[in-house]
Amino acid sequence: MRTIVQSIEGSRAAAERDLAAARAAGDAAKAAAAERRVAAATEEATSLSARMTELSDTAAALQARFEATTAEEPLGVTVPSLLVAVDGGLVKLTRIGARDAAGEVLLPLASGGATAKPGDWQLVTYLTPATNRKVSDQEIAWLEALRDRGMVENRFNTLFFTAGDSREPELAGIRGALVGTSLTLLVTLVLCLPIGVAAAIYLEEFAPKNRLTELIEVNINNLAAVPSIVFGLLGLAVFLSFFGLPRSAPLVGGLVLALLVLPTIIIASRAAIKAVPPSIKEAALGVGASHQQAVFHHVLPLAMPGIMTGTIIGMAHALGETAPLLMIGMVAFIVEPATSITDAATVLPVQIYLWSDLPEIAFQAKTAAAIMVLLVFLFVMNGAAIVLRKRFERRW
């Protein structure tokens, strides 16, 4: 800082020289500018040296506090916590002097504090001041005591998989969401796979090729681009308001998600069916198979890998979707796992979304764990589909 002040002084000197020169030369404008610079530099230098004095005063005061032998230092919540382990108990220092220290007892001393020998104690320091953490010193003390008695253990949290949602992070579990997800996706799969494949077959094989089918085709492609939340609006309007189905139910969620992924499955299935060479179909027709037999016996099995891919992508999409469920009431706090598709339930991504928005920090770990569970779910689901797909794959 001193050097900064010196440099400022230097620049002021330079400015003053300029000023003198300008005055000598009678250049009024230049002189004025130089004058301003001098003024600025002066002001800066003054304010800085004021700050310097202030700082050195503080330093001196601290030094004095440090050196004073009789003075006492109170330890508040804004400084690191000093704990003394002595005589089987724990004491938190609240005041420290040159010779002695005072504190409050966090854990009772074994002998009531009478017999602690000099040197028979240990100082424990927590650098983070108490104001800056969620855990109080008392809580730390209890935890340590329990740990010493071997009553604290670290083990796998099975509760996480067996409990429903809760507002207490320690109790919150994923079971409700898992059940909800399974039910919802089941409904989705049962609806969208047959309908999607059937629609694809109709459009690719049986529909007359005209404007109308073209329109349907464009329509389906377009559906894929409709924001998922709009499907939520649709679900709200149709399934909840019109058909009067229950809110928050996996049934409705499954229906909405089925509509959402339908275009994906139809598009993928159509592409797959289209890719089967016509000669295969002709061969079947040639031995007297009906068009439908040719399609179901030959074209469909050959198109299966593509259909499976579409299904995998579609179901994965459904698995990760939150927005449409918002409109039909599945973004909710639901404790009891659903037992049927008409019970209120929530799903994994929603659970993640909800937990991620809660203030308790412990929920962030829960959120991460829930994401892992979701990924595992995805792996299992895709794994099954992929094994199936491999059985159909062949090149001709």
Partner: protein, 325 residues
């Protein structure tokens, strides 16, 4: 339907769910389903009508608006019990690693408003880039405030609690208010859109994490998030008062706001447990000074105000349109 259904604000959601869970655990009533739909969305559902197809209660991070009340009446939701459950503090927070600051509402207004009075008192587009442009004593860093989008209830609070009051601290605008209220309203209701104010979506934890990543940025969110993340964040004192439990509860802190739960009287006795739910909410062990909601970060009501809420519940006193705006 034998299960209570509640919709509404995501700000009140953490508290209502806690109460719901307690109710489910202790009273044998089936745990209510609590949806997080946002205050307005909740109001819309709530006011759509009575009957098993409609929710029994809604959470709100602000008071019901007059037109919402009217909508309710129109749809046959006649008697509504209003419960004021406590306060939330609207806080301006920053990373612990950031420079220490203290702001007046006027300074905050100047930092966030789209238009501010220029040198001649006329409104000009907000010219302030750095905090130090507003006041020399403030640090020389870029103004970057992350806050709620216009669709959120917290945003309403930001306008009403900070911006309006802030505008009133500026003489040129006080003059304007006298001459042209509409113009004045427009000023405090419009935030700047040049990047200094960043609309960060509904998820407050995202703002928290963004603040951690960027020590010069500030965030606007509810007090419970500040409290929970006190290890990483600090609240910026407003008009010299830092946000904490006491200053919010005592209304000393300028950013304190009230939160409400609205219940349909018509559903009480029809939906099993709804009365118990209301009673639980205003009970001492929930919203009392040391109740479990306080542990969840709710700034509880002073005794006398809690009494009012309790009376509302016990007497099933329906609200009227008068105090609403």
């Amino acid at each position: 339907r034998d299960q209570i259904r509640i919709v509404g604000s995501s700000t009140v959601y953490p508290f209502t769910t806690t109460v719901a869970e307690q109710l489910g655990k202790t009273s044998g009533v089936k745990t209510p389903v609590v949806e997080s739909t946002g205050t307005g969305g909740g109001m819309k559902l709530f006011c759509a009508g009575v009957g098993v197809d409609h929710p029994d209660a809604t959470n709100a991070s602000r008071r019901m608006k007059k037109n919402e009340f009217e909508q309710c009446q129109k749809n046959g939701v006649k008697d509504i019990i209003e419960i004021n459950i406590g306060f939330d503090g609207l806080t301006l927070a920053q990373s612990k690693a950031g420079p220490t600051m203290s702001l007046t509402l006027g300074q905050l207004f100047l930092a966030l408003a789209k238009e501010v009075p220029g040198a001649d008192g006329k409104l000009v587009a907000n010219p302030y880039k750095n905090w130090s442009d507003i006041d020399k004593s403030l640090p020389n860093i870029k103004i970057e405030v992350l806050g709620p989008p216009p669709t959120s209830g917290t945003r309403d609070s930001l306008h009403e609690l900070f911006m309006e009051k802030g505008a009133e601290q500026i003489p040129a605008l006080v003059a304007l208010k006298k001459s042209d209220v509409k113009a004045f309203d427009k000023v405090w209701k419009t935030l700047r859109e040049d990047g200094a104010y960043v609309e960060a979506g509904e998820n407050d934890n995202v703002i928290v994490q963004k603040l951690e990543a960027n020590k010069n940025a500030f965030g606007v969110f509810g007090y419970s998030f500040l409290e929970e993340n006190i290890a990483k964040l600090k609240g910026v004192p407003i008009d010299g008062v830092a946000p904490d439990f006491d200053t919010i509860a005592s209304d000393k802190y300028k950013g304190s706001r009230r939160m409400y739960v609205y219940i349909k009287k018509a559903h009480i006795g029809v939906i099993p447990g709804l009365d118990k739910f209301a009673a639980e909410y205003v009970s001492n062990k929930a919203t009392g000074e040391d109740g479990y909601l306080a542990k969840k970060g709710l700034v509880t009501l002073p005794k006398n105000q809690l009494e009012i809420s309790r009376k509302n519940v016990e007497g099933m006193v329906p609200m009227t349109a008068d105090p609403l705006s």
